[in-house]
């Protein structure tokens, strides 16, 4: 029997051979190199492809989308959203895989194909470890609204957009985020750009290419990252056509000192653990143990708390973080009159009632940061002063001659702020830069922008560096945006009251600053 079926087996095998094996289709190639800037998976996944009309229709389904459409304009191009995986370097110098977005304009419009400028965008602070700015298709992702914003403002108007998710987010297994670590953040941006450039010829629209024009922008934390990127690219000899860092904490040391002197900003209880974890990992000089900085209520596990998959509201409700109380309402008393005045809860005067109310919200019991650490930091800030903070505290006007960094800060955290402060390094932008923000920003104080403007005052008067205060008297090329922002915010105040509206001031500015950035870039071909 077996012998007889042997002939049949041969026949079956012959049929298989005759049928031919044309082969199975193959997926994208995974790079074996972990060199920084290497595109890890090529071609990258296209997450979504939206025509101009489909994108407009999607935006039109929500109130915020309608506002964005009105501000950014009707999409002229469709947008393809790609998910980039690429290699960058961790603070310890080791290769680390991260992710981000590549948005490519599509469609028949003349500005939607061919050689297109690139916008390199840095996103703002998020606690969501799953943040993925490429995932426009998931409205539940924390990045969704920011993804839509930059797609509407830039990609749908003909810019190729590159945006990293940052180390510590999405696929990154770093375990923390190198928050406001300028050199590391800049490397991530530069590596995202390199990966995106490598991916462009392999997209669904390989005819859409890099024109060579590079615009760098970002908002909030991303404003800082954008500026750090300009600094790093200039140092490397790479050209940035123009940049528009917005509402960023550029002057970290001065900003930090102001906060420790009681000017507590909205969001500080989130920013604090991000900063200390980042700098402790990078420099190891912030604390011996977390309880050196943080009160016993919060110290345990705070170094691994952020970013997290747990919603921020849950962190607050479960007592992992206080919602606003950065400092203890029973303020430290050192016996040094000047220092104790600076450590006391802010009052009006000297602050306006609104400022005092805002700052006072940052005090409670127990505060996140111990009185001992706050007092030590403030004492150092008084002994080794940041000139800009002192100038502002004394009611002075910032000029190039009074915004110097502290000569020799004694506290580790202040040393780290100084290292990463954008005044550090004796540099200035070589190509046009717009710094957009709002002078009532309660989250990232406008002092950051004012200090950089003072530092670079010859460039400001020379026109290379521009400052846009969305809350300023409307005038100049951005007057319509200023008016639009101010009327939008006034409407918010009318609707929900000033004390609630102020909570959203910082976020409300974002699309206005991005449209300002786009208008600015259009002037710098």
């Amino acid at each position: 029997m077996l012998k007889k079926f042997g002939g049949l087996t041969v026949a079956v095998l012959a049929t298989l051979a005759l049928a031919g094996c044309g082969g199975n289709s193959q997926t994208a190639a995974v790079s074996t190199s972990t060199q920084r800037g290497t595109l890890a998976v090529n071609p990258p996944l296209r997450v979504a492809s939206l025509s101009a009309s489909a994108f407009a229709a999607d935006l039109d389904t929500t109130t915020s989308g309608q506002q964005l459409l009105q501000l950014a304009g009707t999409p002229a191009c469709g947008v393809d959203f790609y998910y980039l995986k690429y290699w960058t370097v961790a603070p310890d110098g080791k290769p680390t895989e991260v992710s981000g977005a590549l948005m490519v304009p599509t469609g028949a419009g003349s500005q939607c194909s061919g050689a297109r400028p690139i916008v390199l965008y840095a996103h703002g602070t998020t606690t969501a470890s799953t943040y993925n700015i490429a995932d426009i298709s998931d409205t539940g992702n924390a990045a969704n609204s920011e993804s839509a914003m930059i797609a509407a403002v830039f990609a749908a108007q003909g810019y190729i957009v590159v945006a990293p998710n940052y180390e510590g987010y999405d696929i990154s297994n770093l375990g923390y985020h190198p928050y406001v670590d300028g050199a590391v953040n800049a490397d991530d941006m530069i590596d995202a750009l390199a990966a995106a450039r490598a991916a462009l010829p392999h997209t669904f629209t390989p005819g859409t290419t890099d024109s060579g024009q590079l615009y760098v922008t970002g908002y909030s934390e991303g404003g800082y990252v954008a500026m750090a990127t300009v600094k790093a690219m200039q140092a490397a000899g790479d050209t940035v056509t123009a940049s528009a860092p917005s509402s960023g904490p550029y002057a970290l040391e001065a900003f930090g000192d102001a906060i420790f002197f009681g000017q507590v900003d909205i969001g500080s209880t989130v920013f604090a653990p991000f900063v200390t974890t980042s700098y402790q990992n990078a420099y190891g000089n912030v604390y011996q143990q977390t309880s050196d900085v943080y009160s016993s209520t919060y110290a345990t596990g705070i170094d691994t708390l952020l970013p997290t998959a747990t919603p921020l509201a849950t962190l607050f409700q479960s007592g992992k973080l206080p919602e606003a109380a950065l400092f203890d309402s029973t303020t430290p008393v050192t016996g040094n009159t000047q220092l104790d005045q600076l450590l006391a809860e802010p009052t009006s005067p000297p602050y306006t009632p609104e400022q005092a109310a805002l700052f006072d919200a940052g005090f409670g019991s127990p505060g996140l940061v111990t009185n001992a650490f706050r007092a030590a930091y403030a004492a150092d800030a008084l002994t080794n002063p940041d000139q800009a903070t002192m100038t502002l505290l004394n009611g002075g006007t910032l000029t190039a001659s009074d915004v110097a960094l502290a000569a020799s800060p004694g506290i580790g955290l202040r040393q780290d702020f100084k290292v990463n402060d954008m005044r550090n390094g004796g540099w200035a932008p070589k190509e046009p830069m717009l710094m957009c923000g709002g002078d009532q920003d309660p989250t990232v104080f406008f002092m950051n922008t004012e200090i950089m403007a003072a530092e670079w005052s010859p460039l400001v008067s020379g026109g290379l560096v521009s400052v846009l205060d969305l809350n300023g008297t409307p005038g100049g090329p951005f007057a319509p945006l200023q008016s639009a922002f101010q009327s939008t915010y006034a409407a918010m105040v009318s609707a929900v009251g000033a004390s609630t509206a102020i909570q959203s001031y910082h976020a409300t500015e974002a699309p206005f600053c991005m449209v300002a950035a786009r208008d600015f870039f259009a002037q710098v071909p």
Partner: protein, 233 residues
């Protein structure tokens, strides 16, 4: 489990057939058959799941027509074993679901193709006398389906977001058949049959490391029309 049950059933039937005697002096116990294999898929599939996958994406399998090749060995007066397979046809998966994913057309698009080698071993019981012109038969057996040349179409790539590999594990499942033979003479005959097999697989796509899956039940039911030639060796 299905494989084990089917194998057990076939084994039992073969044993039963063997006890009913040899092929009773049949001088031409071997048939080879060639004909048409008209395969209709009553397929059903679960919606694709995985990252970056919108809800409601499904697919159906297009019908296929191909060449039927069969070998039948008569075991006894009533029992025979058939080994049947079709020339591996290109079969298309057609998108079912929303009209578009984002702005990429979906519903009705041919999104993937696959070829399959699907031999079936059947133990058949033939009614009436071996000398009769008309002989109805019924059969039960095992189908093995191997999928290859698994390809995603450009339309499929556009939906899933890039170059994609498709995996589909082989399937083993029971098969049943019923039909009749019309014998012209000792050598030549024609056969018409209707067969159903259980063919299940799990379709997994890998696009840039993003995996999406759908469980597919093919339920092929095939009409076979063939001519056969009997011979001895």
């Amino acid at each position: 489990m299905q494989y084990k049950i089917a194998t057990l059933a076939l084994g039992t039937a073969l044993a039963l057939a063997a006890t009913t005697g040899a092929h009773a002096g049949n001088a031409t116990p071997n048939d080879i058959r060639i004909g048409g294999y008209f395969v209709h898929f009553d397929s059903s599939a679960t919606d694709f799941t995985g990252p970056y996958t919108v809800p409601g994406l499904n697919a159906s399998i297009n019908n296929a027509t191909t060449l039927y090749l069969g070998y039948v060995r008569t075991l006894s007066r009533h029992f025979a074993v058939e080994l049947a397979f079709g020339w591996p046809p290109v079969t298309h998966a057609v998108a079912r679901g929303p009209a578009a994913v984002g702005s990429v057309p979906y519903n009705g698009q041919k999104i993937a193709s696959v070829r399959w080698l699907s031999p079936t071993a059947l133990l058949e019981y033939n009614f009436f006398s071996p000398d009769a012109h008309w002989r109805p038969f019924v059969g039960v057996g095992v189908n093995y389906t191997y999928f290859y040349d698994r390809r995603i179409t450009p339309a499929g790539e556009a939906v899933v977001g890039g170059p994609t590999s498709v995996s589909m594990p082989s399937s083993v499942g029971p098969a049943v058949t019923a039909g009749f033979t019309y014998r012209f003479n000792q050598r030549w005959h024609m056969v018409a049959s209707y067969s159903v097999a259980q063919v299940n697989s799990r379709l997994t796509t890998d696009t840039a490391g993003v995996f999406r899956t759908s469980s597919v039940h093919f339920w092929p039911n095939a009409v076979v029309l063939s001519v056969g030639y009997s011979f001895g060796f």
